[in-house]
């Protein structure tokens, strides 16, 4: 094979590679996606070195009939998206007694990003397989996620929940999550102080 044939092919391959790299970088910057963030067993303890904010998280009552807003310390992060990740990581971690998490154990946060219109996308994994089912419990799960974001990040008006990177009809067969959802306090009790 002579040089006249090889050269255009080689140039084409290089150009395609550069184009793919450019598109990938652009998409990553636009969405600020990151790799799956495993949820730690408990939120990191506050230290003198790490500044924290007081965030309102939402846990199910012991009876499982409502959500209780609870103030908890969450590490301060730079920027809206990074702070959102910290809040959701804390929300997904086991709650303090006597509350119960409305988000099934084993749920992980894959990604969190916010569009220019103020719609946040919470991409989770493992939530459907571990969900115990029932309309009420599913409503609590959805409201805990949506309210945790909207209560602490005023710039976010609506929250779209994704599962494994995709839009899905429901988490467990009942509650419609195909559209971005606004804050819903219909199942939220009055706030109380942190334990």
């Amino acid at each position: 094979m002579n040089l006249h044939r090889i050269l255009p092919v080689a140039i084409g391959v290089v150009l395609l590679g550069l184009l793919a790299w450019g598109v990938t970088s652009l998409l990553e910057r636009l969405t600020e996606r990151d790799a799956a963030i495993p949820v730690t067993a408990t939120p990191p303890p506050p230290t003198a070195e790490t500044p924290h904010i007081a965030a309102t998280l939402f846990y199910a009552t012991a009876e499982g009939d409502a959500l209780q807003p609870v103030q908890r310390e969450v590490p301060l992060a730079e920027g809206l998206v990074a702070q959102g990740r910290q809040i959701l990581t804390a929300q997904f971690a086991p709650p303090p007694a006597p509350y119960i998490s409305a988000i099934p154990m084993g749920t992980t946060l894959r990604a969190f990003y916010v569009t220019e219109k103020g719609d946040a996308f919470v991409d989770v994994s493992g939530i459907s397989a571990a969900h115990p089912g029932g309309s009420l419990t599913e409503l609590l799960t959805v409201q805990a996620i949506v309210n945790a974001v909207t209560a602490n990040l005023p710039a976010v008006q609506r929250v779209q929940i994704l599962v494994d990177g995709k839009e899905v009809d429901t988490i467990a067969g009942h509650v419609d999550i195909r559209q971005p959802l606004v804050r819903d306090v219909s199942l939220v009790r009055a706030a109380e102080a942190a334990p």
Partner: protein, 490 residues
């Protein structure tokens, strides 16, 4: 498949079912021996092997049982109520059990774990006690007395539609359907000049036994919307008395007699048994699954609606299978149902929550705008043969919005009737973004019958008493709503 085996015998502890299971295939029909153990209907695997020509092998070290048909396998667990079918896991009501030297499996094994590896259809119809194998035609036949008269009018509906003929004989009418067998839903008693409607001597016939004063009946057949209808009108040999001679007869109970002289506005109910297939829904500590409860109550409700109210009923699933959530509402929409009712059982994170709940759809801002307009947009399209016609355009996510006020009325009726018969939650009626209701283009509601996470309610949910109470409540609510809808119609 072999149908020439002699009478099989299940040597198992337990009792035979009140009505034996009947296998229907091209080769003929036969009784399938089963036994009830702890409320679970079981069939012996060696009987399955003879009937379906499958090989059964037990692996003692692992406790598993392998069923093989033409190289395809289903592996059953003796410890878990599951089976691996060609590598896919399906659930069963109970694991394999042993009785003496025989291995027993729940009859659900046949449609769930055997059918996927078998090369012919295996369809278990629990309500009618039929096991349908292969390409046989077994339509559902619902009979009812519409008006006691005289003349007395009765209707026999065949779905899916199959050709049928009606022959008047001495004192009876025989309806013969071109089918291999019939899945029958017959009224417990006749009415007026029809003494009884019962199964005929042939597997594809229904017989109407006429009373002593019955004159020669008139019959007619028609097919519409995929349902064949045979109507029978029986006049009396006794001439009607002069109007002034006797007082008019007392009107019969509304639930027993229906008029077919005028078409009712409301005549088709869609029932959606929630979950199914690989989606069991909520599961109780002792293994009762929401999908089984919803299907059973749906069947009880259908029987009540068809025989007492005379309305047609469609169900989004007739057996244990997964149905996509939007397909459920789409099925009701395509059938032009007048009402959509989705049945579920609830679950809570704590064990104390109890009581039935009714959900209707909550609307967002766009949905509220549609509700206020009370109509959807329409477009004008050219029609065949010239001219144009208006076509209603209903965006899927807004289909329910135009009906939300009537859905609210129906929900209130459901709440009232449930409250009379079963425990009800403090939050009896709620609005939420229930996906299955979103696309329903008719009045619609979702009922959570009980909390299966509450030990007491979970125990009651297994009983006939509870299931009948729920079915009665839903039936009464639908009957009330039908009256409401018919009165409201222009």
């Amino acid at each position: 498949m072999v149908l020439t085996v002699p009478v099989l015998f299940v040597q198992a502890q337990g009792t035979p079912p009140p009505t034996p299971l009947t296998l229907i295939a091209r080769e003929g029909r036969r009784t399938v021996p089963t036994v009830i153990v702890s409320g679970q209907e079981l069939i012996a695997l060696d009987d399955v092997a003879m009937l379906f020509q499958v090989a059964v092998a037990e692996d003692a070290p692992t406790g598993s049982v392998t069923v093989t048909y033409r190289g395809r396998t289903t592996v059953l667990s003796s410890t878990q109520p599951i089976a691996s079918v060609n590598g896919r896991v399906v659930t069963l009501p109970a694991p394999v059990s042993r009785s003496g030297r025989r291995l027993l499996v729940p009859v659900e094994f046949l449609p769930r774990a055997l059918a996927p590896i078998y090369d012919r259809r295996v369809d278990l119809r629990r309500t009618s006690r039929l096991l349908i194998v292969g390409d046989v035609v077994v339509p559902r036949v619902v009979a009812r007395v519409d008006a006691v008269g005289p003349p007395t009018r009765a209707t026999i509906e065949i779905s899916p539609a199959a050709p049928a003929t009606a022959t008047a004989d001495a004192g009876r009418v025989i309806v013969r359907v071109e089918a291999d067998a019939l899945e029958l839903a017959l009224p417990p008693a006749g009415g007026g000049l029809i003494d009884q409607i019962r199964a005929g001597d042939q597997p594809n016939t229904v017989v109407l036994i006429l009373g002593g004063n019955a004159a020669m009946p008139r019959t007619a057949t028609a097919t519409a919307d995929g349902v064949a209808r045979v109507t029978v009108e029986v006049p009396s040999t006794v001439p009607p008395p002069a109007e002034s001679a006797i007082p008019p007869p007392a009107p019969p109970a509304a639930s027993e007699v229906l008029s077919v002289a005028t078409r009712r506005v409301f005549d088709l109910v869609a029932i959606d048994p929630g979950h199914g297939g690989n989606d069991p829904g909520v599961r109780t500590a002792d293994g009762l699954e929401e999908k089984e409860l919803t299907l059973d109550v749906a069947r009880r409700l259908r029987q009540r609606l068809e025989t007492r109210l005379g309305v047609r009923v469609i169900m989004t699933r007739e057996d244990d299978r997964a149905i996509a959530i939007d397909e459920r509402a789409a099925f009701a929409n395509n059938s032009k149902a007048d009402l959509f009712l989705s049945l579920h059982a609830n679950g809570a994170l704590g064990g104390g929550m109890a009581g039935a709940e009714v959900y209707l759809l909550s609307l967002d801002r766009e949905g509220e705008a549609v509700r206020r307009r009370r109509r959807t947009d329409a477009v004008s399209l050219p029609a065949l043969g010239g001219g144009r016609r208006m076509l209603e355009v209903v965006p899927w996510n807004l289909a329910q919005a135009a009906h939300i006020d009537t859905s609210s009325t129906f929900s209130a009726m459901l709440e009232e009737e449930l409250r009379r018969r079963v425990p009800i939650s403090p939050r009896a009626v709620q609005r939420a973004g229930m996906r299955v209701l979103t696309g329903a283009n008719m009045p619609a509601a979702l009922v959570e019958m009980a909390y299966l996470t509450n030990p007491e309610q979970a125990g009651k949910a297994r009983t006939d008493e509870f299931r009948n109470s729920v079915a009665d409540a839903l039936y009464e609510a639908i009957a009330r709503f039908r009256t409401f809808a018919d009165e409201k119609a222009p």
